[in-house]
């Protein structure tokens, strides 16, 4: 059973990943990415990492990809860009070499018994009487209570900062700007 779920999810993940890089239409690429992320979420569930699976779906498949789609659809994509020329010379060979190196490392780490789909025994994803979500929420609300709350300040700053930096100057402010001064640049 484990094995069957693993194979199906694995195939979905890999097909999606290949699709992301091979699709010509960027919208299709983004949708392929969703498939990959869902596949990974299923793999997480299989490893009893339920919280991680939920976050994977909500944050990555839900928010991040939707953001990608927004950008693609609102801004459009340069279609006449030559995809066969690398922006950085030697980018492709270097990427392939690094990828192979990573694969080799993973193979070395797992040695022989891979593709079993059995839940991992390393780490404390779950204990005898507590699920993964319970363990995680326990540490969030006890040991890491203050850091958890402090991140909310971080989000507040991000919102204020985005508004401050993205705000367009009002007409009165634009009139102030001296055209002759090269240092002053008008927002478009």
């Amino acid at each position: 059973m484990d094995w069957a779920v693993f194979v199906v999810a694995g195939i979905a993940t890999l097909v999606g990943a290949l699709g992301v890089v091979t699709c010509r239409n960027p919208v299709h690429s983004a949708l392929m990415l969703v498939m990959t992320l869902f596949g990974i979420a299923v793999l997480f569930v299989e490893q009893d990492a339920h919280f991680l699976a939920a976050v994977q779906v909500i944050v990555y498949a839900g928010a991040v990809v939707v953001l990608f789609l927004f950008v693609i659809m609102l801004l459009g994509v340069e279609t006449n860009e030559d995809l066969h020329k690398d922006p950085l010379r030697g980018q492709r060979p270097a990427a392939i070499a690094l990828g192979l190196l990573m694969l080799l490392e993973v193979l070395l780490l797992v040695r022989s018994n891979w593709v079993t789909g059995a839940p991992s025994t390393a780490g404390a994803a779950r204990s005898a009487d507590q699920t993964n979500v319970e363990v995680l929420s326990r540490s969030l609300f006890t040991r890491y209570l203050l850091p958890f709350e402090a991140t909310s300040v971080l989000l507040l700053i991000a919102v204020v900062g985005a508004v401050v930096l993205a705000r367009r100057p009002t007409r009165a402010e634009l009139a102030d700007i001296n055209e002759d001064d090269p240092d002053l640049v008008t927002a478009e």
Binding site: R138, A150, L154, V160, V164, L165
Partner: protein, 496 residues
Amino acid sequence: MPLELPRVEWATILPETILVVGAMLILLGGALLRRRLPAWVWTVASIIIAAGAMVSAWDLWRRVSHNHQGGAHTAIANAVVVDGFSVYFALLTCGAVILAALMADSYLRRERLNAPEFHVLMLLSASGALLMAAANDLIVIFLGLEVLSIALYVLAGFAQRRAVSREAAMKYFVLGAFSSAIFLYGVALAYGATGSTNLGEIAAFLRASVSTHAVLLGAFAFLIVGLGFKIAAVPFHMWTPDVYQGSPTPVTGFMAAVAKAAGFAALLRIFFSTFGTHRLDWQPLIWALAVLSILVGSVLAVVQTDVKRMLAYSSISHAGYILIGLQAATVRGLAGSLFYLLAYTFMVLGSFGIVTLVARDGDARTGLDAYRGLGQRRPGLALVFTVLLLAQAGVPLTSGFLAKFYVISAAVEAHSYALAIIAMLAAVIAAFFYLRVIVVMYMAGDEADTADADPIRVPFGAGLSLAVSVVATVIIGTILAGPAFDFARHASILRL
């Protein structure tokens, strides 16, 4: 299984809470009020909030300092620690916020920038600095660092109509994010080597094991690099001149004072207190950083023609002097570093305050030429700047002299003679460029400059903050030298 929530001792994080809640109130007020209030209202609000945080910190100080070490304790599931050290930095940071808010008041009006958002970001940034100083967990330190830095990235680009300001924000953001990532990697390695991110647990682990595993040494290196960026120590100083020059000048003053103090708070707590048992492993690194910062900062400052850039390099060399105290790794060295930070806060805020006023409209006139003949045009301003520059150079009867004296004597006491000699020689080089600005100010100005259409005005708020800075610099160096040093000496770190 029932969940046992940790006790939240609100009093211990009251200064941070006041800053954050106050910032949110300003934000709400700015958004909800139909009518645009004059800018000074927000300045006053910001000062009241910072003063409130200061009062609550003072209350903590009394509690902590009265019964020696008995008052110091950890709180909220060991995430924060209330000791003289954290409260000292809270008081310092809140003082810097008040001075910077006074300085920014006229600047914001002059440049027609939005006042509420500016004060909100400054208060939130200060709350991050407080959190960093009070943190008892590497994760809390990291969060404090991010709260501090992200608000500062935005503040650096606050004068967004000026291209240099946006460039400064971008540069600061990219390099700052990079250094945060390095710091985080150091945290991960420290966790790997010791099995905890809690400073108390790390210290307990290190006391029990004398081995120096490569992972632990890696953690030292990465933590030093990550925090080295924040305190602008050479060789991680590359961003400093550009960012200090491009940012709005009051922000530069705030950044130079608070970001550096917070970086040092984390550095001192992590290395002096937590990794204190392994000092032989990290002392050489700090030694090299201190020497490089002092020398490179002093030498490169000599060739600058822009006063803002010159002050940026001088702040790099100040970071080197403060590192001397950490390198000594003694109680005296710690007190020296803390005293230096106290003196430095007033000196640097005052200096950048003067630069704000002299730069005038568009924050443009920061070159050395703008100071030509300042002694005739604005004798008072020139005198204040002279005192602040002499203090930075370390001339006796100012706080800067005592600050340098304490850290160097701590180095001598710890038998770091080479470091002490290098520091004294560099102080001589540094005196040259401070004196050059003073000479330029008292030289006869050009006729064209004296008949400037845009005279230098000293608004009330900025004048007040300059007066406080210069008076503090002088009396900490003379009458109040003893109490000020005692203040720094009592700001001890709770040993866990």
